[in-house]
């Protein structure tokens, strides 16, 4: 099986890659602005850490699309399509752990009744409360990911790319933490000392949620689960349709589907393979332009298999 990206996806993938490079550049600008305005507020520190963490998915995506294209070798005969999922799972685990740790920090801040100091800065000879600068930085940190997330979402669906989809969803959801952050800073300004720790806690919860969501997306593939939908833990609709079709064509056979990267692999156990080589696309029932999703069908013949008793038990038709 070739590791080349399906022809139809090449321009989309190029666009997604460009978007992720822009995403990294804009995110760095957000990190710089937030870092400059951070002060001693727990809310701002947590929001800044979240902004730093949002660099992980685009970086994983850009590394993944390169690794995915590597040709199979003797030591890795199945290619490297699953390497990105592994990287993504590791990043998701880190995100989850950090979200948990920030949540504990916020709770400790609240418990210790820490009062955040936000004083004034001098702007061209005028005294300005640093909180307003923080609010401006937070607004900037809302707008950038909101726009990027909306641009990435349709591409992620077209490419059926989990990393890109999780990235887009995370960015789209970032506005809520931005609002929480602004609420935290204005809350401090109004004299509610607890607003800082509470807002930081909300942001930490969101980081934890992002981590768990990414972890779920990555682990289903790593344990060879049936392909999942991009936006939920349910079985993907196209996978369910393939499963139904194969069961109908090969009654009594066991059908197993798994996913590596964006490609579905089907295994039909206990069925005699067709005599002639068959294009996997013939088993595709959905939109013909997305037939690239089904990359391979292999058969495990019923015992005893008269034609090739000592040979390999599976036959790849893709």
């Amino acid at each position: 099986m070739s590791n080349a990206l399906p022809e139809a996806l090449v321009p989309l993938m190029r666009r997604a890659e460009r978007l992720e490079w822009w995403s990294i550049a804009w995110t760095i600008s957000v990190i710089a602005v937030m870092g400059a305005a951070m002060g001693s507020s727990q809310t701002m520190k947590t929001a800044w850490i979240e902004d730093c963490l949002s660099l992980i998915p685009p970086i994983v995506f850009l590394v993944a699309v390169r690794v995915e294209r590597w040709a199979p070798t003797n030591r890795f005969p199945n290619g490297f399509q699953r390497a990105p999922s592994l990287a993504f799972a590791i990043a998701a685990a880190a995100l989850t752990a950090l979200g948990g740790s920030l949540l504990v920090n916020s709770a400790m801040s609240l418990f210790a009744q820490e009062h955040a100091t936000i004083a004034a800065i001098d702007v061209f000879g005028h005294e300005l409360w640093l909180g307003w600068v923080m609010v401006a930085a937070q607004i900037y940190s809302i707008v950038v990911p909101l726009v990027l997330g909306r641009l990435k979402l349709p591409l992620a669906r077209a490419l059926n790319d989990k990393t890109l989809f999780t990235d887009a969803q995370t960015q789209k959801a970032n506005w809520m933490t931005g609002i929480a952050g602004i609420g935290g800073v204005i809350g401090i300004g109004l004299g509610y000392w607890w607003a800082d720790a509470v807002a930081a806690g909300i942001i930490a919860l969101d980081i934890l949620n992002d981590g768990l969501r990414a972890l779920r997306a990555a682990t289903a593939e790593l344990v060879d689960g049936t392909p999942r939908a991009l936006d939920s833990p349910k079985i993907a609709e196209d996978a369910a349709a393939i499963d139904q079709l194969l069961r109908a064509r090969f009654p009594g056979a066991e059908v197993r589907l798994r996913e590596t990267g964006r490609i579905i692999h089907a295994q039909v156990i206990g069925a005699t393979p067709p005599a002639q080589k068959v294009d996997p696309a013939t088993y595709w029932t959905g939109d013909p332009e997305r037939s690239w999703r089904l990359g391979q069908i292999s058969f495990v013949a019923p015992e005893p298999f008269e034609q090739e008793p000592a040979a390999s038990a599976s036959k790849g038709n893709g």
Binding site: E114, H115, T117, A119, A120, G131, G189, G191
Partner: protein, 145 residues
């Protein structure tokens, strides 16, 4: 999360008087006309002059009379943290002082380098009393000039 919207607009609507002190230090000083000052014992003459100038400016701003307590630096800072004092003056701090996180050090009123380390003369306030801190820092910058 959508429930945060009304809260957010409520917060924005009440932005006229920002920042405020969680424990109301500035309002209390103005209302009671008493400014609780901690003066570090053993401070040198220059430090005392700067501290006096700062306290006089703050007293004028707030219309309060200074009530001065003299003691060692650590003892005064602990009382400041507990809310018994509004400001501690005449203290000197290394740049990496652990007090940095526990209290708010104002802009340095003066610096002195000795034995490869710098000691800064700071007016110190409680963390989080942001309106009061802004006033102290504004006056401290004037005194430092």
């Amino acid at each position: 999360m959508r429930a945060l919207f009304p809260l957010f607009f409520f917060l924005l609507a009440s932005c006229g008087d920002i920042p405020r002190d969680p424990d109301g230090s500035l309002k209390r000083i103005r209302r009671e006309r008493v400014l609780h000052v901690g003066m570090v014992e053993g401070a040198d003459l220059q430090s005392i002059r700067r501290a006096d100038a700062l306290i006089a400016a703050l007293a004028k701003d707030t219309g309060a009379n200074p009530a001065v307590t003299r003691d060692g630096q650590e003892a005064l800072l602990l009382r400041l943290e507990a809310g018994d004092l509004d400001i501690v003056v005449g203290g000197r701090f290394a740049e990496d002082t652990p007090w940095k996180t526990r209290v708010t050090l104002g802009p340095p009123l003066a610096s002195e380098t000795a034995a490869a380390s710098t000691l800064n003369d700071h007016a110190v306030t409680r963390n989080g009393e942001n309106a009061w801190i802004m006033l102290v820092q504004r006056e401290a910058r004037k005194v430092a000039r």
